[in-house]
């Protein structure tokens, strides 16, 4: 049962004497059995004192601890009640020794560990677990597992290093050595202990791949200055970084500890590390759920509605947008913090999107609700559609992050069909525009349109107008149905953009042409899958 053996005795004694907690003692004695750390703290402390302070003559017994676990547990539980019980057990023979243990225990129970600063002490207790779980439960997240992440104060690495030097020195006296990477890591140990406790309290398993993350940030202001000497000794490890508040990052400290000579370290930092007054503080307890992705297709029926919020010089030009009309309902339903909208191409504010609509996907960041049935998704779609006549959504569904790639895949190769209302300066006859119908796979060269040149690189792009079908309206108006390669700027193909798109409709008809209205008739992307209504 008890994890230490005789060969650990001197190290355990040394660490305990210098103010190190039993779990940290185990770590430096390379105890790899997870269960050993999970025993209640008081039991571990008692067992450690027992191991060290008496039965020294019974070395063999400790070597084969594991043979007798339940018996030991009972013995310990009864310990406080009376010495006669202990005698019954047969393991303990002298009551005065038991008193010694109690006195020693009382001294070290409250002591804050000089290596873990309380992480493997109070922060492994159910009180703390309950406090964290209360916070988790009050946030009303839907989750089926969790991953626990912990951020420890960086100075713990310095203290760990000091303790390691101490232990290494002691082992050296016995002709033994201890590699730093053989010490069981504090974070790992902490998770061994805390995972089962969280799991029980939350009622779901711990899973390293879980999308639901519970994170705790620990700080220990009292010892924040522990690492400062490193910057003086190894200045090149601590370069100020733009996005970091302090140069004392975990990585920088580990790098410096790796580099620093033992004598330099010992000169600046006590080995063993001094005992602190206070335990760490849990600064932040946060929950985040992995993003959820929703996809669908939208129609846009308004010529006054931009796809995304239209803001110039910090001022809103139009009150709404396609992305907002869809996302506000999703944000409410999924109780998300924020969203990211993406789509297969986009249309201008004055362009309608008809037909089966344009594929879109929305990432919902940190959603509290994540489980939706197909029926509930359909209801959500209905809710969006009932709330505005400017847009309509179909095929609304939950998708994976990976699937969104299909929406952008081969965007260049896809075709789009449009309907344009065109005006000409000189009068037209049906015959004048019929020539457009005969043009197949017309290759055009488009310079980046002037209207987007301020934010896009200047380039000449080759595009193909696959087919055109003209519909005569009157002397100066006709409708043109076009099937084009995706990425073609239709407005510029019609009016020519100062002759920067060549050829253009004006050029082909030998007159000035202008576009009055444009509709997207279809976006030929077969994702997301069509749903039956």
């Amino acid at each position: 049962m008890f994890a230490l053996t005789e060969k650990n005795r001197s190290i355990a004694q040394l660490l305990l004497n210098t103010g190190t907690c039993p779990r940290c003692v185990f770590r430096f004695c390379c105890v790899g059995l997870e269960a050993s750390y999970r025993h209640p703290y008081k039991d571990l402390l008692r067992e450690l004192h027992e191991f060290l302070e008496y039965n020294k003559e019974k070395e063999d017994r400790f070597c084969c601890e594991i043979a007798d676990p339940p018996c030991k547990r009972i013995r310990l539980e009864n310990m406080g009640e009376g010495a006669e019980d202990l005698n019954q057990n047969g393991a303990l023979q002298q009551t005065p020794v038991a008193d010694d243990v109690n006195v020693a225990m009382a001294n070290s129970t409250l002591k804050v560990c000089n290596v873990c600063l309380g992480i493997l002490q109070e922060f492994c207790e159910t009180d703390f677990v309950k406090k964290v779980c209360q916070k988790v439960n009050s946030a009303e997240y839907q989750f089926t597992s969790f991953v626990f992440s912990v951020s420890l104060p960086p100075q713990l690495s310095v203290r760990e290093h000091a303790a390691w030097l101490l232990v290494k020195e002691e082992m050296g006296k016995q002709g033994l050595s201890l590699a730093k990477e053989d010490i069981v890591q504090l974070k790992e140990t902490y998770k061994w202990i805390i995972h089962p406790l969280f799991s029980e309290e939350l009622g779901v398993p711990a899973d390293g791949k879980s999308l639901f993350e519970v994170s705790v940030v620990f700080a220990h202001p009292e010892t924040d200055e522990d690492c400062h000497f490193l910057a003086r000794v190894c200045p090149d490890c601590f370069k100020p970084a733009k996005n970091k508040q302090s140069v004392f990052t975990r990585m920088a400290i580990i790098k410096a500890l790796d580099k620093i000579k033992e004598e330099d370290f010992r000169e600046h930092f006590p080995c063993p590390p001094s005992s602190p007054k206070n335990i760490c503080a849990a600064l932040e307890i946060q929950c985040t759920n992995g993003a959820i992705f929703v996809a669908g297709r939208y129609n846009k029926y308004s010529r006054n509605l931009p796809q995304t919020p239209w803001i110039i010089d910090g001022e809103r030009k139009l009150e709404s947008s396609v992305e907002e009309l869809i996302s506000e309902h999703l944000m409410t339903a999924f109780k998300a913090d924020s969203f990211n909208f993406s789509s297969s191409g986009r249309e201008d504010v004055d362009v309608r999107t008809l037909g089966s609509g344009r594929p879109f996907a929305i990432e919902l960041v940190n959603p509290h609700r994540i489980h939706f049935t197909a029926m509930e998704m359909k209801e959500l779609q209905q809710k969006i559609n009932n709330s505005s006549d400017k847009i309509k959504v179909r095929d609304l569904q939950l998708v994976t992050r990976e699937a969104i790639g299909h929406m952008k895949e081969g965007e260049e190769e896809k075709t789009k069909t449009y309907s344009a209302l065109i005006w000409t300066d000189k009068a037209i006859q049906k015959e004048d525009i019929a020539l457009l119908d005969d043009m197949k796979e017309l290759k055009i060269d488009q310079k980046t349109p002037l209207r987007v040149l301020h934010r896009r690189p200047l380039a000449v792009r080759s595009r193909v107008i696959h087919t055109m079908k003209s519909e005569y309206i009157d002397d100066h108006h006709f409708r043109l149905h076009l099937k084009t390669q995706a990425g073609t700027y239709i407005k510029e193909f019609v009016h020519g953009d100062f002759g920067r798109t060549k050829p253009n409709i004006g050029f082909l008809l030998k007159r000035t042409a202008d576009i009055l209205e444009l509709d997207v008739e279809s976006v030929d992307v077969d994702w997301p899958p069509t749903l039956n209504d």
Binding site: R451, L453, R455, P457, L458, G496, F498, G499, T512
Partner: protein, 172 residues
């Protein structure tokens, strides 16, 4: 006199600004079309001598000095690296006519040169046929923070009309 004003694209998205008698040369008026996105298109104003009846353009030259050609202007990336910087009085090109006259066209606004119109090299006639669309001279991108101030010294269409009227009255 002036070419018929074409409605449509130019009027919908661009604001017209005029600079009369550029560099003190009588009637050599320029017209700057500024898009709502701050991009400026430099064109000839209707009253410019080059657009008057009987003028024939012989050649257009973007080589404005021994070591500076506007044709060598290349911009790259979203930020348009490598653009030539233009001040108000930076020459864009020189246009010579069959009557022996030569005219210099100036930027009129501060900004970075995006492109010059190479189409008018092969077909100078479009400069005269469609001066405010296909016959433009150059495209200039003013600095974001100067996009409002660069047109301060220029005339609105209404103010320009008054200049034209005065000019007409003094010559007749």
């Amino acid at each position: 006199m002036a070419a018929a004003v074409t409605p449509g694209v130019t009027e919908r998205y661009f604001t017209r600004w005029y600079k009369p008698d550029v560099k003190g040369n009588l009637c050599e008026d320029h017209c700057i079309l500024q898009h709502s996105n701050r991009i400026c298109v430099i064109t000839l104003a209707e009253a410019h001598p080059l657009l008057q009846n009987g003028k024939t353009i012989k050649s257009i030259n973007y080589q404005i000095s021994a070591n500076c050609s506007r044709l060598q202007n290349k911009v790259s990336g979203k930020s348009k690296r490598g653009a030539q910087f233009l001040t108000e009085l930076a020459p864009l090109c020189r246009i010579s006519c069959s009557d022996g006259e030569e005219y210099t066209i100036y930027s009129c606004i501060r900004g970075r040169l995006m492109e010059v119109n190479e189409n008018i090299l092969d077909n100078p006639a479009i400069l005269q046929e469609k001066p405010s669309t296909e016959g433009y001279i150059a495209v200039v991108l003013p600095k974001f923070e100067e996009s409002k101030t660069i047109t301060q010294g220029l005339l609105t269409p209404k103010e320009y009309e008054e200049v034209l009227l005065k000019r007409f009255n003094s010559t007749s």
